[in-house]
């Protein structure tokens, strides 16, 4: 029972979709919170729009509402469920902002809902710039000179008074959206103008820049009795100036003496006490590298990304403890879940060094501005644990999956020393690699320090890595040198590279000389007490602590860092796979390196190895544990990529075989399968050069879909319409060769359909079929998906079932299979098959009631569908509709084109369910953040070939009372088709033009498609970017626009707010 007796039913607000600045860490925190509440016997009501989460599973909360997270929907949930209390500090900034809004609107008091944990007044003192400043002044905590402005003019005045550089931070925004550093007045004007737009309360904080100071963070926990502890100190390798989410971070702080550590620790505690936070709180401070002067930068009065990191870095479950505090416990009444003997009221101490490295999406957004500043750009992160900085760093690099195994970027080799020196100045995602390259070239630490202000301690450590490289290059590889290299964290493959040997040869040499990793425990207490957590990391030391049991075991590979194309959904799958294996009586072992996730919580699997997901690191764990086999089908492409090499190394891949995976991935073998099964696919060829591509295109006919043969998330995939574009693509987008062929397929314009099915080798269960709103050509991850399908005929559905069965059985799938189809004129074509879990599995599991990963895992382990009580075939469609919609983070990424195409661009997704299709879609749009206007003017500017369709859509909007604005050709066309159009000036026709219209708020939505000429796109690009900056909806697919228009028409006179709990959905067997 909770300490507070009057609590019975708690409402928990999740953080919604994954966006830059708010990733999987809140699924981890929220799941821990819900479990901690249930432990207390409380009824939990959860609202979260993100279906790809563990926390929205029906067994995590008693009532799960996958609904838009806004005041209206929350009020509706409160009204129906009548919770007595609200827990809002575990749902990120979204949760916090919403709690404040609910309070302000009087909803909490109206329905008698008590806010648990940190109270509104405390939240405001931490969040509101002016109140924060006052509070800090009251307790003599220094904050940089600053002012709050609501106008650009005021900002300029402040600049005149205290000088530049200045930092601009818009109030109440995520990840510092819209902020930046201004070096002069001109820059200040630009940043403030935008910042005021981003801030929901039109406020910006302007403050003196302390760029170059050490950036230190403390995670603090306080209870209602005013007991206060710090969980962990963290030091950013990148000094102040780079957002902490984009910084390389180590824990504990490395370059501070004891006096400095405790000075900042005490400041953090004093601040948290004064704010009156109850639960977890993050405090960021800047320390002058040459004195004991410091400034308080920021406080987050809630569980945050940093607290997830601190939890995983120390083993201290901050979210759980925060939840227990919220229901009335004090720190000395909460068990230390790690030791089970001591209490949560202590400060963790660690005996290793943790390093966090951000994962940026620049591999996807190649045109994006890569510089790092106050605006966070990373989509995810990895964490590494080792006993030296060097080894931690190298482990982190290996974990990133950016094609590197070492702190070395081959393309930097080509730069001259001068160019390298120049590049050091650039603060971007590659800086650490540039610095290492500079050290390799003999550029001095002092030189690098003067530019970067990165503490020399870090630079010396990186130089140790460079020194070891030189040693490996110049000395024979003796066992003693090999051991030293391993202690510094060098990968076998990297060592092999220096001495002309393969990774396997080095591995053999290691084994022959007894150079094996030892595994140590993460126990919160540096071994002072016996701990029970099965949470391990590798290091080359003398004692290994892992007790290997004689139980039958299975290793589940996780999915590494969150990135575009591989999000939290694969973590969801890994966790469910572990749970299913536990049900079968296996000891489960997870290998993963993402600190934000549920899978790396220490009480999910029987054993957690926090390691990079490379062949070497995985094989080492397998050597140690000797499992029956490895499950790869739930860890996304990360795990799938390891299947072949693991198989070759003699490791049993459980479920679908490596041969099945290869038959789906290898073009020729896949075609053979389709031929054997008599399944059609769009005609296509594999080519190795431009001439071949042109010939192939001529054969299959334009438009063609072109892409490199090995892709993840549609990378470098394009639709081209003519020879010219094809030549351009072949010369710029890909480097085709014999080893890296390019695929040229006819682009079939039709309805895209997606199926996730489970096969036990004999029978196939199809839980559901999803139909996409956008036609083929828009990446499936960026499409709106609808379940059950709305437009498919019975014959098409029958064909899809038939093809799915044939392919699953033909590929001898044991477990999950995902297939994408195109339906055109009632013909069904296959475009892609993946014998693994897909992005849509959590969504489909939730809306069909089939625990897909559970069933698939058991199938992979040899349990037939029949044994599991499932009937083969397609599950009966339900009486409701479920819509999955993509969510983008374009406002964090300047210079990225928001047009949807074959390359995936979304960072997350939302789901909505309703008994009425229109409402489900409408809710999905709201949840996904599309700013759906109810009136005003819609700007339509579309490609020539789209004009006919656009006219039809424009007509629809006009009938709903919207005005239509268009430029040039589109305006004329629409005019000729009986639509009243306001003609706007094109960007190229001088100003004021359409961009000014957008800026001044005359446009409430944009529908834009591109002409397929590179130059003509420039205007469109500007328009699209300006919609992002001014937060108005921009639809780049006519399908989305049409659907939205239909839905708005259907919803015009209907209630939008209508909620449904997942527990209330009626599932038929």
């Amino acid at each position: 029972m909770p300490k507070l007796k009057n609590i019975k039913k708690v409402l928990v607000i999740g953080s919604g979709p994954i966006i830059i600045g708010q990733a999987a860490e809140f699924d981890y925190a929220g799941t821990q919170a819900c479990r901690a509440l249930k432990e207390e016997g409380l009824e939990v009501v959860l609202v979260n729009s993100n279906p790809a989460t563990i926390m929205t599973d029906i067994n995590i909360a008693d009532r799960v509402y996958v609904e838009p997270i806004n005041v209206e929907f929350l009020e509706s949930v409160i009204k129906r469920e009548r919770p007595d209390s609200l827990l809002a500090t575990l749902g990120g900034q979204v949760g916090l902002n919403l709690a404040m809004a609910l309070d302000e609107k009087g909803i909490l008091s109206e329905y008698n809902v008590k806010l648990l944990g940190t109270q509104i007044a405390s939240i405001k003192r931490g969040e509101d710039r002016e109140l924060f400043k006052e509070t800090m002044e009251k307790i003599n905590q220094p904050i940089p000179e600053s002012t709050i402005v609501e106008t650009v003019m005021a900002a300029c005045e402040f600049g005149k008074k205290i000088g530049y550089p200045l930092i601009v931070r818009p109030a109440y925004t995520l990840g510092g959206t819209g902020g930046g550093i201004a070096d002069d007045e001109e820059e200040l004007i630009d940043i403030v103008q935008k910042g005021l737009g981003y801030s929901p309360i039109s406020q910006c904080l302007i403050e003196r820049s302390i760029a170059g100071w050490k950036e230190i963070e403390f995670e603090v926990i306080r209870d209602a009795a005013d007991n206060c502890i710090t969980v962990c100190s963290m030091e950013n390798v990148d000094p102040v100036g780079v957002h902490t989410g984009d910084s390389i971070v180590v824990a504990p702080a490395q370059t501070l003496n004891d006096k400095e550590v405790h000075m900042l620790r005490q400041a953090s505690i004093d601040i948290v006490r004064e704010l009156g936070v109850c639960g977890g709180c993050n405090v960021q401070l800047a320390l002058d590298p040459f004195s004991e002067n410091y400034y308080v930068i920021e406080v987050n009065p809630r569980v945050s990304r940093s607290s997830a990191l601190a939890s995983k870095a120390t083993g201290y479950p901050i979210a759980k403890v925060t939840t227990k505090i919220a229901v009335g416990y004090n720190l000395d009444e909460i068990e230390n879940a790690v030791t089970k003997k001591t209490k949560a009221c202590f400060e963790p101490t660690i005996d290793y060094i943790v390093l966090k490295f951000p994962r940026w999406p620049f591999d996807k957004f190649v045109t994006a501005d890569r510089t790092l500043g106050t605006q966070m750009k990373a989509t995810g992160e990895v964490m590494a644990i080792e006993r030296s900085f060097e080894a931690s760093m190298l482990k982190a690099i290996r974990s990133l999956e950016i094609g590197l195994t070492h702190l070395e970027m081959p393309e930097l080799k080509a730069l001259s020393d001068e160019e390298i020196k120049d590049r050091i100045k650039l603060i971007d995602d590659q800086r650490i690699f540039v610095i290492t390259e500079a050290l390799r070239r003999g550029i001095t630490i002092d030189y690098i320090y003067d530019i970067t202000k990165m503490d020399k301690w870090f630079l010396y450590k990186i130089n140790n890595i460079v020194k070891m490289e030189k040693a490996l290059q110049t000395h024979p590889l003796t066992p003693s040198l090999l051991l030293k290299a391993k202690k510094l964290g060098f990968a076998d493959s990297v060592i092999g590279g220096y001495v002309g040997k393969t990774m396997m040869e080095i591995r053999e040499m290691r084994k022959a000389n007894g150079i094996l990793p030892t595994y140590k425990m993460v126990d919160t207490c540096a071994a002072e007490f016996e701990a029970e957590t099965p949470y391990y990391y590798s290091t080359y030391a003398t004692e290994d602590e892992v007790a290997v049991s004689d139980k039958k075991k299975v290793v589940v590979l996780g999915s590494g860092p969150i990135r575009i194309g591989q999000g939290v959904e694969f973590d969801y799958c890994s966790v469910h796979s572990v749970w299913a294996l536990k049900e079968l009586g296996y000891e489960t072992i997870i290998i993963n390196n993402n600190p934000e996730t549920v899978s790396t919580d220490f009480d999910i699997s029987d054993k957690l190895y926090f390691e990079p997901l490379t062949l070497e690191d995985v094989l080492n764990v397998i050597d140690k544990e000797q499992p029956e086999g490895v499950i790869v089908q739930f860890g996304g492409q990360t795990a799938i990529n390891l299947a072949g090499p693991l198989d070759k190394a003699g490791v049993k891949i459980l479920g679908s075989s490596v041969d099945s995976i290869d038959r789906a991935e290898d073009r020729e073998r896949f075609e053979q399968l389709l031929t054997d099964c008599e399944i059609p696919r769009p005609k296509g060829h594999t080519v190795f050069d431009t001439a071949g591509a042109l010939k192939a295109a001529a054969d299959v006919g334009y438009p063609v879909m072109v892409r490199p043969s090995y892709v993840l998330g549609g990378r470098a995939m394009e639709i081209v319409y003519n020879d010219e574009e094809l030549k351009h693509y072949m010369s710029s987008a890909v480097k085709a060769s014999k080893e890296h062929p390019v695929l040229v397929d006819h682009y079939l314009q039709g309805t895209e359909v997606e199926v996730d099915a489970i096969c036990d080798g004999k029978e196939v269960l199809i839980p559901g079929i999803m139909e996409h709103v956008e036609r083929a050509g828009v990446h499936s991850g960026d499409s709106i998906a609808v379940y059950p399908p709305r437009s498919l005929s019975e014959s098409v559905i029958r064909t899809i079932i038939n093809y799915t069965n044939k392919m699953a059985l033909g590929l001898e799938v044991k477990g999950m299979i995902n297939i994408q189809y195109i339906v055109r004129n009632d013909h069904v074509y296959v475009i892609e098959v993946n014998p693994r879990s897909s992005r849509t599995v959590p969504f489909l599991s939730k809306v069909t009631g089939v625990p897909m990963v559970n069933v698939a895992t058991k199938a992979a382990m040899g349990r037939s569908l029949k044994e599991q009580g499932y009937r083969a075939g397609l599950k009966l469609f339900p009486d409701y509709y479920a819509v999955k919609a993509p969510v983008f983070s374009f406002n964090k990424m300047s210079n990225v084109d928001i047009t949807l195409g074959p390359e995936m661009k979304s960072t997350g997704e939302v789901m909505a369910v309703d008994y009425q299709y229109s409402r489900a879609l409408y809710k999905a749009c709201i949840a996904s953040g599309i700013n759906v206007p109810h009136e005003g003017s819609i700007l339509i500017t579309v490609a020539d070939m789209d004009k006919e369709e656009a006219a039809e859509i424009a007509k629809g909007f006009e009938e709903l009372g919207y005005r239509v604005t268009a430029t040039g050709g589109t305006a004329e066309y629409l005019n000729n088709h009986d639509i009243e159009v306001r003609v706007a000036t094109k960007v190229s026709e001088g100003s004021p033009n359409i961009l000014d219209d957008i800026k001044e708020g005359h446009i409430s939505m944009v529908i834009n498609t591109t002409n397929h000429g590179r130059d003509a796109e420039r205007d469109g690009f500007k328009i699209r970017r300006s919609t992002v900056e001014h937060a108005i909806a921009c639809l780049t697919s006519l399908d989305t626009a049409r659907e939205l228009q239909h839905v708005m028409s259907a919803m015009r006179r209907r209630r939008v707010i209508s909620i449904v709990a997942l527990q209330d959905l009626a599932w038929e067997d």
């Binding site: 504990p252 490395q254 004891d258 405790h262 005490q266 101490t349 005996d351 290793y352 002072e528 004692e543």
Partner: protein
């Protein structure tokens, strides 16, 4: 890569051996203990309470921010030996004046580097503190056996206490300090709280102490077993009731023994800066710096007018006592921090209050 002096090893009484790179000229023989603080290595190295011990740092990266004399807690390091994971070659901090390696050389502390310190910690956790030696790798078994058979050290206080009485500061309250190996920051704290100090050698007779007519008496921290010093205990008995007494660590243990309580040797003690202590009077928990291998036995308090004021949240052992028969109190932990967290000023204020007769 480190400059390798020579190969060396730590040999424990139970025969276990941990190899590493050996810095320093002499052998080390002493009780092997571990401490879990992540920063504060210099304060630890110079804390006289570690006199005669071989100290294992559980945090592997040592020496990161160099050395600055201002952080010294004693006149020198009384360590017998030092065992660490990694010695930082290139420290980086604006306060750094020399490297850890240079400091250790000057202080003549044999140091074993590159050791799996967690493995040693786990051993000590299981078996309790053990005697151990640090010797060069090639040392013969006879020599090792002989070193391990060296009698245990006793009365380390005599080694670390001041030879002469001296005075410090010019504050309002006159405090007589019995120096059992006092840390510099205790002296600093007392002065900050408006005290001027007369610091006495540990064995100064009570009469001499009282002769300066202090407002209060402070019993300091110090190394070793409190039962090694019956003479001091007897002395303290003469001071009790005469003036308010405040004790820290060894001072706390000696005061308890002087009041008829008993102390015992703990399995592996409390050494670190993350130790939670509950103040039983307020119910509040403070995080404290601790360094003790002995504790006051709770059972021995039965029937005495002594109240437990603080306990360890980790194992329930006594961390502070208040005496009913005379105005005295003491804590087992280190409110003066250095290394570790502060926030314990209330104890010093309380001492002032007592001296004021409040």
């Amino acid at each position: 890569m480190h400059k390798i002096v020579r190969k060396g090893k730590l040999v424990l009484k139970d025969g276990s051996v941990f190899e590493g790179d050996l810095y320093g000229k002499r052998n080390a023989v002493g009780e092997v203990v571990f401490t879990t603080g992540m920063s504060g290595y210099q304060e630890t190295l110079t804390d006289p309470s570690f006199c005669g011990q071989i100290v294992v740092m559980t945090y592997p990266l040592i020496g990161n921010y160099g050395i600055n004399p201002m952080f010294n807690q004693g006149k020198k390091s009384y360590f017998q030996g030092y065992v660490i994971g990694e010695m930082c070659d290139y420290p980086s901090n604006w306060r750094s004046e020399e490297t850890l390696e240079a400091f250790l050389e000057k202080q003549d502390v044999p140091t074993l580097v590159g050791v799996d310190t967690r493995a040693i910690t786990r051993k000590i956790r299981e078996y309790g503190v053990l005697k151990g030696i640090i010797v060069p790798a090639e040392t013969s078994q006879e020599e090792i056996d002989a070193l391990l058979a060296t009698p245990d050290a006793h009365d380390q206080i005599a080694q670390v206490t001041t030879k002469e009485k001296y005075t410090l500061g010019n504050g309002k309250y006159h405090v007589a300090v019995l120096d059992f190996g006092i840390k510099q920051n205790i002296l600093n704290y007392l002065q900050c709280f408006d005290c001027h100090l007369t610091v006495f050698p540990a064995y100064t007779p009570a009469e001499e102490v009282l002769a300066v007519n202090p407002d209060g008496i402070f019993l300091s921290n110090g190394p070793g077993d409190p039962k090694d010093v019956p003479e001091i205990i007897a002395n303290v008995q003469k001071l009790m009731g005469k003036k308010p007494i405040f004790g820290i660590c060894m001072g706390h243990q000696i005061l308890a023994l002087a009041n008829g309580a008993d102390t015992y040797k703990m399995k592996f003690g409390h050494r670190g800066v993350n130790q939670p202590v509950k103040d039983l009077r307020t119910g509040k928990i403070v995080i404290s710096s601790q360094n003790h291998g002995y504790a006051v036995d709770e059972k021995s308090l039965e029937g005495k007018n002594i109240r437990i004021s603080h306990i360890s949240m980790n194992d329930g052992t006594i961390e502070g006592l208040e005496y009913g028969d005379h105005p005295s109190f003491a804590v087992q932990y280190h409110p003066e921090a250095c290394p570790g967290p502060g926030g314990h000023e209330a104890l010093f204020i309380r001492f002032i209050d007592m001296m004021e007769g409040r």
